[in-house]
């Protein structure tokens, strides 16, 4: 069988679908959907609650098994791998979460070391990578502290260091800033952009916050009803006029107590990043 030339693609989803019933009995999930993310790109996924954003993201490392379709990460067809092969592939796919998911009974350094220990890396190499990654996120002095004593932003930085330690090809970010305040969000977006620049790691990020997507992503996929309805180039930080996303922004974009939504005026995000929440905070 001819091998597909996918060496320049970080992520390729081919007609993946995943359906399940939500607690209310409705069928939700992802309709047959395809997505291509080239190496080095920061790709956003945005949409309303229940649009299937997180499911699509979790299909990439097969935390969610697709009912049909193929998942290819860094030239590796994950959907055809054995359980052991998949574990091997996951060693090079980092993931961060909305609620950080750090181990509270491990120190910061041990948390960062964990994925490499699981991958069976050499102890000297682990020590070296823990140092590099903690330096990178600016928390080297917290190495021996337990996560319980860190702020939310610091916890997410540790989670980023942990995800980067095994030198992943791809970093999956599931609502990484949704539990953080605006200033911390901004700091963290800086860390993610830096990771992309310095290590060349491809980032696939799910968020319902327009500002997060706009500031960080090169391209964005807009999801609705379990499928990608639009893909936009937003590398310059502008939402193209006439797009679905632009119309959502004008309908729902301006958040705040004011009843009448004003058109999406661009606030001075550097001082106070304005959250164009496309949905109420994720449960």
């Amino acid at each position: 069988m001819p091998k597909t030339p996918s060496s320049t693609l970080a992520i390729e989803l081919r007609a993946v679908s995943r359906r399940f019933a939500d607690p209310g009995g409705r069928t939700v999930g992802v309709q047959p959907t395809s997505l291509i993310v080239p190496q080095g790109e920061i790709h956003g996924i945005i949409g309303f609650s229940g649009a299937g954003k997180s499911t699509l993201l979790r299909l990439v490392n097969l935390l969610e098994r697709p009912d049909a379709g193929e998942v290819i990460v860094h030239g590796n067809t994950l959907t055809r791998l054995s359980a052991a092969g998949l574990r091997q592939a996951r060693h090079r796919i980092g993931m961060i979460f909305q609620h950080f998911n750090l181990l509270h009974n491990l120190t910061v350094a041990d948390n960062v070391a964990l994925p490499m220990r699981i991958a069976g890396a050499d102890p000297a190499r682990i020590r070296e990578r823990v140092q590099v990654c903690l330096d990178f996120v600016g928390l080297a002095e917290k190495a021996d502290v337990y996560p319980g004593r860190l702020s939310g932003g610091q916890k997410q930085r540790v989670a980023i260091a942990r995800a980067l330690a095994p030198e992943p090809h791809v970093l999956l970010a599931d609502e990484p800033t949704s539990a953080l305040d605006p200033r911390t969000t901004l700091d963290l977006l800086g860390v993610l952009a830096d990771a992309n620049r310095r290590f060349g790691v491809t980032i696939l990020l799910v968020s319902h916050e327009m500002e997060v997507i706009r500031r960080l992503c090169h391209r964005v996929s807009v999801m609705e009803g379990g499928r990608i309805v639009e893909q936009l180039d937003i590398a310059d930080g502008r939402i193209p006029e006439g797009s679905q996303l632009a119309s959502w922004l004008s309908d729902f974009g301006a958040v705040g107590p004011a009843a009448s939504p004003s058109p999406a005026t661009r606030p001075d995000a550097a001082a106070t990043p304005h959250h164009f929440a496309l949905e109420a905070a994720h449960a």
Binding site: A89, R90, M95, F97, N101, L103, N105, I118, P166
Partner: protein, 221 residues
């Protein structure tokens, strides 16, 4: 009372030793076998990494419930033929350790399974995303994040089976309970009864105190 205490000192010492022996045997069996069983039941439950072996989960759950339905004294009597095969006799602390161990294994399996259920799902998921195998999840996540709960589970187990071991005294199992029955009850020696009760209270208090201290020490959350 003091006279009785001095007079019965050898008996009391022997009974305490027998109780500790029964406890040591049944706690070890429970922690090793029951702990493993509890981990497996947890890992094969819905949404966990060995969910594909749900048949095992259903069967093991059923067996745990059946064994735990037996009032201990009934279990003691019901399995006495089995006890005779294993221990060669149905009298004495070694024989009593057989039903004690069986009850403790299934009791502890349930305790462990419930302790693990309290872990946030996200932490296990993070380990799965890192490519952790089920064994690595047990070693690096479950036993680490749940360790204070596990210490408390052992504490509860020890206290419960201290009193179960006293029940074994009724059928000649030896130990502190046996002493209380023979002297305190059959011979109406209230002072012996009081001494055994005080002894049991001291044992329970020390186990509980030590367990809580250890659980606090290992908990960094």
């Amino acid at each position: 009372m003091l006279e009785t205490l001095i007079e019965l000192a050898p008996e009391i010492l022997k009974a305490t030793g027998e109780t500790l022996l029964m406890l040591a045997i049944c706690l070890s069996a429970a922690i090793l076998i029951g702990g493993a069983l509890g981990l497996l039941v947890f890992l094969t439950s819905r949404g966990q990494s060995l969910e594909r072996f749900r048949a095992f989960n259903l069967i093991a759950n059923g067996v745990i419930n059946v064994v735990r339905s037996f009032p201990f004294i009934i279990l003691l009597v019901a399995i006495s033929p089995f006890t005779r095969v294993i221990a060669g006799t149905s009298i004495g602390p070694l024989a009593a350790s057989v039903p004690l161990s069986i009850a403790a294994i299934f009791y502890f399996a349930r305790l462990i399974e419930q302790t693990l259920r309290d872990l946030p799902r996200g932490v296990i998921e993070a380990a799965e995303a890192m490519g952790a195998s089920p064994l690595q999840i047990i070693r690096h996540v479950l036993l680490v994040e749940a360790r204070s709960g596990l210490v408390l589970a052992v504490t509860v187990l020890a206290v419960s089976f201290l009193s179960y071991s006293a029940v074994a005294g009724v059928v000649g199992g030896g130990g502190i309970g046996d002493l209380a029955i023979r002297y305190g009850y059959y011979r109406f020696q209230t002072d012996v009864m009081v001494i055994t009760i005080v002894l049991l209270i001291i044992l329970v208090q020390s186990v509980q105190f030590f367990g809580q201290w250890a659980a606090r020490r290992v908990d960094k959350r």
